[in-house]
Symmetry: C2
Subunit: 132 residues, 2 copies
DNA sequence: ATTAAATGCTATAAGGAGGTATCATTTATG
DNA sequence: CATAAATGATACCTCCTTATAGCATTTAAT
């Protein structure tokens, strides 16, 4: 019922970076700060770089940096880029077609709170995560 | 962000059975009604049987039946028996320890709606799923 | 120039979830 | 009694996620 570990890592990385904005951070540094397995962290940073959330610079003194305006990056965007948001739009029981012809009582009970979470994720930007 | 497919199958099976209470149903019959892969369905039925949600009878005319009072079986009980409820009590980012010393903004944003879902799951019994 | 420190890329492994297949056992029915 | 129809149990396979490892390339500092 949670996000994938990779999504959690991604949100953690970006949350850390937004709270240390303007700094160029290396994978090694993030590893020491966040405890995410080094090689896996590298892969995630590459993915975040390719999906445009951060930019990388190579060579000594290289690293990663937030560039886009953090007020325009929403949590839902990040989750969407990493594990996708399909889970919010499809049957919570995992079916292509509801075996109860869409009369399924479990849908009635859970669809609203689930939509509520998605709404929050779409409204909350990285800027909102800055610790004041 | 959804339940496991196995949990979905389990809820589907029990929801079907509660709407056909008193009937003894076979795995083959449920397979034809719900479209869950036969052999996998068998495994799940065994698990639901071992965890006490249903009872099985063997031999020809054998099958499965609900026995407990369906008003005392809560959705959360079922989810707990199949995939566990740890997901609701642990860090939504998947960490043992919050890398932000429990000041993590994402927790602040998602903890309440997540707790709300758990509350609903704990309050809703199989009886509430009966289609009238 | 050489070296150190960084990312880019790619191959591989471990583990769990979902799914398949088979044999053994039980029981009702002709 | 023999057979059919059902569950019990178990082994296996595939795919995806998570994790590990190593080589290639780039760049700053000495």
């Amino acid at each position: 019922m949670n996000f994938s570990k990779t999504t959690g890592y991604s949100l953690t990385i970006l949350t850390y970076m937004v709270n240390h904005s303007g700094e160029n951070v290396s994978a090694d540094f993030l590893h020491s700060k966040l405890g995410i397995p080094y090689q896996y962290l590298r892969q995630i940073l590459t993915k975040l770089s390719k999906t445009g959330f951060i930019v990388s610079s190579r060579g000594r003194k290289g690293g990663f940096e937030l560039t886009r305006d953090v007020s325009t990056i929403y949590i839902a965007d990040i989750i969407g880029a990493i594990e996708g948001l399909e889970g919010f739009n499809t049957c919570i029981l995992g079916f292509q077609e509801c075996p109860f012809n869409n009369k399924c009582s479990i849908h009635n009970i859970l669809d609203e709170p689930r939509a509520n979470i998605l709404k929050i994720l779409k409204q909350t930007s990285l800027e909102d995560l800055i610790i004041k």
